[in-house]
Each structure stands twice: as structure tokens, then as C-alpha cells.
Amino acid sequence: MTQQKKRREFAYFALRNNKLRIGVAIVFLFMVLALVGPWLTHYKPREFVAPGAQHPSSQFWMGTTSLGEDVFTQFVYGLRATFIVGLLGGGLGTLIGILIGFVAGYRGGMVDELLNMFTNIVLVIPSLVVLLIIAAYLEVRGFLFESLFIGFFAWPWAARAIRAQTFSLRSREFVDLARLSGMKPLRTIVTEIAPNMMSYLLLVFILQFGGAILTAATLDFIGLGPTNAVSLGLMMNNAVIWGALILGMWWWFIPPGLAITAIVGALYVTNVGLDEVFNPKLREM
């Protein structure tokens, strides 16, 4: 089978994989909403635009909060924040995972032992609790900070997985051949090993993406998210603080959670879909 055919085959399965299609469609939908949403509304997320506790209506598509903020506006801005944190946090987690995984897997030996131990340690420590503690003591927190934190604690499993992959690729003979051509280790990793793992790295990133969104939502919910912004987790936090459950203001706390579930769920489904595309063994099922 030729390479072109193989690529075409990926495209063929990718386009015909329902999981992939549904997953990507949902994520894409929310992404578009996050992008254009702020233009669909003429309010600001923290602006008091109406009497409080309004039911959803044609003017306020998702109703208003107790304070009279437009829930839809908060929702679309929150979506934006969610994607930003997902991309940054997930990206950073993937990046660190790649870095440590590559180095450990490629160098092997003592370096590997040490990095592996380090990874195991971070893996065992309940990271969210550490995150909580750090976040609790920070005075001002923004999305960047939040993403950084999430990224810094999310990498261990990725590093572990990438290390294993690198390890198996390293023993492939084309890597030896590159070394026989006088290639430096870094270049070998970048030009020989990494390209072979692209599909795998994509899968890792998607999972990190989803994980970062969930972690961010949790942090926000506890009130340890960004202190001066809107996010889906903060919306839920606010809804609870302002008694939305008791007061029956379902439009306040259902949309943000639903969006997170949908996005993360879609990401997971996409991941499985891609896995099936990349891994022919799974296609039969």
C-alpha cells in the first residue's frame, strides 16, 4: 500500500468514523459559539442588565442571574475561557509530558530511572489537592495562572505513555542509523522519533485538553479559579452561592455543566474515534 493510499485511508476512515464525526462536530459547535458568541450578545458578562432571576426569554436566552446578569453572555464568555484553559493547560501538560517522556525514553539509564521516579511521585500525589493549596494562597489568579498550574500537574501519565512509546521507537533501527549519520540526540528525537508519534501525541493532547477543562471547572467551582473573569466553573460556583438550586433557577447551573460535559465527552469520543482510525486493529469492532 502506498503512502498516499495510506493517507487516503486515514481520511477515508476518519470521515466515516461516526465517533470522530460526532465528537468533532460537537467540539466544533461549541468552539464556534465561543468564538462568535460575544458578538451574539450586546451585554458584558458581569454587567447588570436586567432584573434578577429572569426565566429564559427571547431577550435573555438563558435567563438572568440573581443579580440580573445575562446568563447567555456569561455562558459564551465562559466557553471561551474553557477553551483557552483547555488549550493552554492541556497544551502545557502535553508539552511537559513530551519533554520528559522523550528524554526519559531516549536517554534511558539513570536519567530514565530518575525521571521515572519523579513521574511516579507526581502521579501518586493527589494533584488537585496540591493545586488547591497553591491556588488558595495566591492573591490574584488569572486564566494563564490556572492553565499553568493545571499543565504542571497533568503531565505525569502523558510522560509515562510517551516514554514507553519513545522507548520502543528508540530501539528501531532507523534511530541507530541516524546516530551513525552523526546526528545529535535532540535532532534525532525531533526529526526521527517525534514524527512517528504524531498521531499518538494528538491523542495525548486531546485527553489532556479534556482533563484540563474538568480540572479547571473543579477549581473554579471551589472558588479557586480566576478571580476576575467568567468561566463555566465560576458560573456554577455563583449559582450555588446565590442559591440557584433552592430558588429553582435551573437555567443558571444547567447550561455550564452541560457544556462542559458535552465538550469533554465529545473530546473523549473524538479520541476513541481517532484511535480507531490510527489503529486498524480496533476498526473491526
Partner: protein, 318 residues
């Protein structure tokens, strides 16, 4: 030209190297200019480890590998690169030797970038083409293709062509035909033998005795990391002395003879042997001479250019 002197490789296994695994033990042999030497052994005999140590893909634990009198392990940076100009390797799995997502001729480009950055592109292309011709490939048929579009035999020739681009004097050929189909492997083997005519030395690593016999002048038989017998190929094949070599000879499935035949032939010429060497446990004559149990037999020259590491090759057959 290339000389191994008491080379050993010890792998540390377990947490922080708790246990030692001796992959290669005190191996010494040399390869002369324009000579093909076969390194023969079963899996786990350390033959590939030796190849990789020569190529500096792994380090030696002790002993010296020298090329033209220079200790190879001392080479760093530029000197190391110069070494790779002269010494190259080809490996067992042709498909694994190429990065599957790039076109196969990328291996030439890398060599060009790394070793001849100043050569003009067109001149380089010509050089590549002539090198391909030299290994019997038609550049038009094989350039600009992905590895899986080429056959294993073509790929292995590709790699030899890649080595020829350099001022290569020594080639480590590690089981390069074991994964090829029978109909094409002989051509690669012939090519290897032809390199000799260009003054190249080849270390031919194989588990197949008949292949070793086909192309090499000298053979080194390895068992569990130690040399058990070495010398001129003809002499070893005609008169294997070490029990392990004999066992190997008796086990090779042959097209011209049945096993029973070979066994009986060998039996008639069997010498009384006993070993305390690495082969002690499997040696049919174990226990005949208590010394072998504790003392590792030295490699002795039993006849001109024929060495054996066995304490009792001189004894009578039972």
C-alpha cells in the same frame, strides 16, 4: 585494521543496576583490510552487541576496540563523525531501518547534510545515483519512494549504497539478510562479497552457518558472549573442534544432507572433549576432565590460523 581486545559488555539490570548481565565476555579478534569475517552465534550469544559496540551505538564495559590503532571509545564530536565516515553498519530489519513516514532516499539526504554539507545538490544527486548503480539498483525505480513501496532486498541495498557514499572502509552487516525472502537474499549476500573487491572489510554477523561459509574467510563462533572457536572458515567447517561448534554443525538443516548423516559423520571424527568453559553444561563430554569445570579454556591455535577455546580438544574420541 579493526581490533577487539578483551572486550566485555555488562548490562546493569534492576533498580539502579542491582544485577549484572554479561552479554559479552573478553572477546578478542581482529579484522584485516579487505577481509570478510563472520561472527556466528545463536540468539543471546552477544553477536549483535559486539556489532553495536564497534559502531559505538553502545559503550564497552571493558576492553578496547581500536580502528587503525585508535581506541574507538575515545572518539568524541568531530573525530567520532570521521569514524562514521569510515565505519558504517547495516541492520537486520530493512523496514525498521527506514523511518516509515519519510521517503526512503531521505537516508541519503541525511548523509549529505551531515557529512558533505558543502557538496552542491546536483553533484550530490549524481553521487547518489552512481552509488545506487554500484549496488545494482536503478535510481529511477527506487528514488522518491516510501520504504513500504520497496522490497526488503532493495532496502538493504539502499543501506549499503548509503554506506558507500562515505569513504567507508569497514561495514558491520548485522543479520542483514535474515529477514529477506530466499529468492533475493543471495543477491544482497553477493553484493556484500563484492564489496571486498573494493578493499572493504566486512563483519558479517549471522546465525546461519551456511551463509557464513558462503562469503567469509574467517569465522568467529560465539556462545553466551564468549568466543568458543575461531579461525579460517574452511578449517572450522571441515573440522569443528569445539563441541558447541559441532552441535551447531549437526543442527543446521541442510539441503544436501539429512541430519542423521551429518551426525554420524561428526561422530566418527569426534574428539574426546571436556569443558569447564561456558559450554560445560551442554557439552557431551562434561566431567571427563575436572579442570574444565573451573578453568576457562584459553583460545589456542590448534593448527595454523585455527583457534579453539577448549581444554580438551586433543583428547581421543570416545
Amino acid at each position: 585494521m579493526l581490533k577487539l581486545d578483551e572486550v566485555s559488555k555488562v548490562y546493569k539490570v534492576g533498580t539502579f543496576g542491582g544485577r549484572a548481565l554479561r552479554a559479552v565476555q573478553d572477546v578478542s579478534f581482529d579484522v584485516q583490510d579487505g577481509e570478510v569475517v563472520s561472527l556466528i552465534g545463536e540468539s543471546g550469544s552477544g553477536k549483535s552487541t559486539i556489532g553495536k559496540m564497534i559502531l559505538r551505538l553502545i559503550s564497552t564495559s571493558s576492553g578496547v576496540i581500536s580502528f587503525d590503532g585508535v581506541d574507538v571509545s575515545s572518539l568524541r564530536g568531530g573525530a567520532r563523525k570521521e569514524y562514521y565516515r569510515k565505519v558504517q553498519g547495516v541492520f537486520q530489519d530493512p523496514f525498521s531501518s527506514f523511518n516509515p513516514i519519510f521517503k526512503a532516499d531521505r537516508v541519503f539526504r541525511i548523509v549529505g547534510q551531515q557529512f558533505f554539507p558543502e557538496t552542491a545538490a546536483r553533484k550530490w544527486d549524481e553521487k547518489v545515483e552512481s552509488s545506487l548503480h554500484a549496488v545494482g539498483l536503478n535510481p529511477e525505480h527506487v528514488l522518491d519512494k516510501f520504504p513500504h513501496q520497496l522490497s526488503g532486498g532493495q532496502l538493504q541495498r539502499f543501506l549499503i549504497a548509503r554506506a558507500l557514499l562515505l569513504d567507508i572502509r569497514f561495514l558491520v552487516a548485522d543479520e542483514i539478510i535474515s529477514m529477506l525472502d530466499a529468492s533475493t537474499r543471495i543477491d544482497v549476500l553477493n553484493l556484500l562479497a563484492d564489496l571486498k573487491a573494493r578493499g572493504l572489510s566486512v563483519l558479517f554477523i549471522t546465525h546461519d552457518l551456511s551463509l557464513g561459509y558462503y562469503i567469509s574467510e574467517r569465522a568467529v563462533i560465539l556462545y553466551q558472549g564468549s568466543v568458543v572457536e575461531m579461525g579460517s572458515t574452511e578449517r572450522i567447517y571441515d573440522n569443528p573442534l569445539h563441541p558447541y561448534t559441532r552441535m551447531l554443525m549437526a543442527s543446521v538443516p541442510r539441503l544436501d544432507k539429512k541430519w542423521e548423516q551429518v551426525e554420524s559423520e561428526l561422530r566418527t571424527r569426534r574428539n574426546e572433549l571436556s569443558t569447564g568453559c561456558v559450554y560445560y553444561s551442554r557439552c557431551g563430554m562434561a566431567g571427563k576432565d575436572g579442570g574444565c569445570r573451573t578453568e576457562k579454556p584459553a583460545l589456542i591455535e590448534v593448527e595454523s590460523d585455527h583457534f579453539v577455546a577448549c581444554g580438551c580438544c586433543d583428547q581421543e574420541c570416545p
